[in-house]
Symmetry: C2
């Protein structure tokens, strides 16, 4: 398994990205990483990180000269065809690697993936699929779109539902994954014209006795219940999904910082905090977005992941692991196959 890793253009520099790649190839003997970016910068990072150890043959460098900036728009990577982002995606297109990971500008990334890899047949707009833990042990929830788009129409939201459905069925082995439509209320008449139309369509795809009777629509789901495990898949427009996810992430940080502060009050509470450490550690880790690492850009012909711009080593490492799983699970081909069936039967 090979991953092309664009190590340039993240908020904290390429060193953390290179360190994460070294950790990955050390832990998984079946995976190679091609570091894409400024050759001398990457070499310097490798030298300082490895000290006197020799570099693993599973790490290679692919030198590029341009860097897409975080604030760049949809055409930036396409215009800079010797940028690390463009070339990393091109390695997927040329079938030299099995997946690509970047932490650079989402807009530029989506633009270049669209041009170089193209969408799966039948999909109009790809989506970021974010996989989060729920309060039910071992159960995750898949949210899409987490921010690849701003606004989406009904057809696009139905595509998201189909992709999420396929992902849960084929990768998470859930026979009838429950789909929820993110909305401000549970009633069918709540929300915008788009959510109302999508509600009706998802209901039709669930209730009909015809060929399309294969979705399992649970109804609207309020943001309060994103993580309660009520549904397996949450469908929403990109702007709203991004807002909801970032609100959740922020709240987790706020609560844990307040708890930490509370335990630091006095000597006794510090002692209590020490003893309670084990209880918090796992909860904090589960909801720390640094550990979840990234979202897959789903709906394009290829496996492409995006890590947070503000990624540290742990997030990059988690994102690389997600890439590895997606390759192993053959996510893109499976979704592509299922969508072909859907569109042929429509």
């Amino acid at each position: 398994m090979k991953i092309a890793f664009d190590v340039m253009g993240s908020d904290y520099g390429s060193r953390l990205a290179v360190a994460a790649a070294l950790q990955l190839v050390n832990e998984f003997t079946d995976t190679e990483v091609i570091l894409v970016g400024n050759e001398s910068e990457i070499n310097n990072n490798l030298t300082s990180l490895l000290k006197h150890r020799t570099i693993s043959p599973k790490i290679t460098i692919y030198g590029t000269t341009q860097v897409v900036r975080m604030t760049d728009g949809p055409l930036a990577a396409i215009r800079m065809d010797n940028s690390s982002m463009y070339q990393a995606i091109k390695l997927v297109k040329d079938k030299i690697v099995d997946a690509v990971l970047t932490s650079g500008s989402s807009a530029a990334y989506i633009g270049a993936c669209h041009l170089l890899l193209g969408e799966i047949k039948g999909i109009k707009r790809p989506a970021f699929m974010s996989i989060m833990p729920t309060i039910i042990k071992g159960q995750q929830v898949v949210l899409l779109d987490a921010g690849a788009n701003l606004e989406n129409n009904m057809d696009e939201l139905i595509d998201f539902a189909l992709m999420g459905h396929t992902y849960c069925q084929l990768i998470q082995n859930i026979v009838k994954p429950k789909i929820g439509l993110l909305n401000i209320g549970v009633e069918a008449n709540k929300g915008t014209l788009t959510t109302k139309a999508t509600y009706a369509k998802l209901q039709a795809l669930t209730a009909s006795n015809g060929k399309l009777n294969f979705l399992n629509f649970h109804g609207n789901i309020e943001p309060r219940n994103i993580l309660t495990g009520e549904v397996n898949i949450i469908v929403c427009e990109g702007y709203v999904g991004n807002i909801a996810i970032k609100a959740i992430e922020g709240m987790a940080l706020v609560i844990f910082s307040l708890i930490k502060k509370g335990y630091r009050k006095n000597l006794f509470s510090r002692f209590l905090g020490l003893l309670s450490f084990g209880i918090f550690k796992n909860i904090k880790a589960a909801f720390d977005y640094k550990n979840t690492g990234g979202a897959q850009l789903i709906g394009i012909n290829g496996i492409a992941f995006k890590a947070h711009g503000a990624s540290e080593k742990t997030s990059f490492y988690s994102a690389l692991k997600l890439c590895r799983s997606a390759i192993k699970q053959d996510v893109t081909n499976k979704i592509s196959e299922q969508l072909k069936n859907y569109h042929n039967n429509k």
Copy 2:
């Protein structure tokens, strides 16, 4: 101070609402509550709640015959002019009370407030203003719109900023309250056409040397930083604001339920949990939406609050307290005055 309290149409029945009203008048001798709704139902509640004690003269009943349901639309309360919701608002219009509280359908409530009370001069769309705690002790954050509208245009968002600004200046005594525009990224070019236009306008209202140089625009704010105290006011469209608030509320519930579970693991951890109780109690209370109670419908001629449909006694009680504060602080008149100045100088 007199509050008209529509006790009908909440998820758990009128008994909890009546109990909250009794608690309020017991604790604050300066406040009267008029319970609006089915007379015999309210009487039965009072009898069973008070047992052999006599009813306080500060509680009165205003009998109505119709009930607006939670799923009813914008015209429901207007069409049912003997509904508890309609009549409670009318008591404000007729200057019999100083404020109104309901937990019924938001759409119906906004519709009836619009018709009976009307908007403050210059305001096109009222907004729900939600006041939340931040991680900075004693500092709150004001978010609007929390869901009175779905979509809003630039002018409406500017009105929200102005109302929030006035509220923070005159009620919270902050000289130059910081305004943040809720968005998916901090950069000026992030978001929808509406957020981009609003960003530019807010910047102009902040930076200009002319008469309008009175806002203090901090820039875009990501949902991750809603509660970090970075800004005093968060401006957003109603749909997005509602999603963000409910995501935050949900995350708080999730984390505390997981912590509770963690402490219940064994005897030792139960003991630890008992000792740590004081540390969590305050944090949990601060972020439990049951304690915050409700949001003010701001921008209309009158003090109108909305409590959660799923309110329990504590939430109703908190909402009644919010009504009381808003009356004492003369919120609506102050905002009205300031907006008049703004529009005259424009």
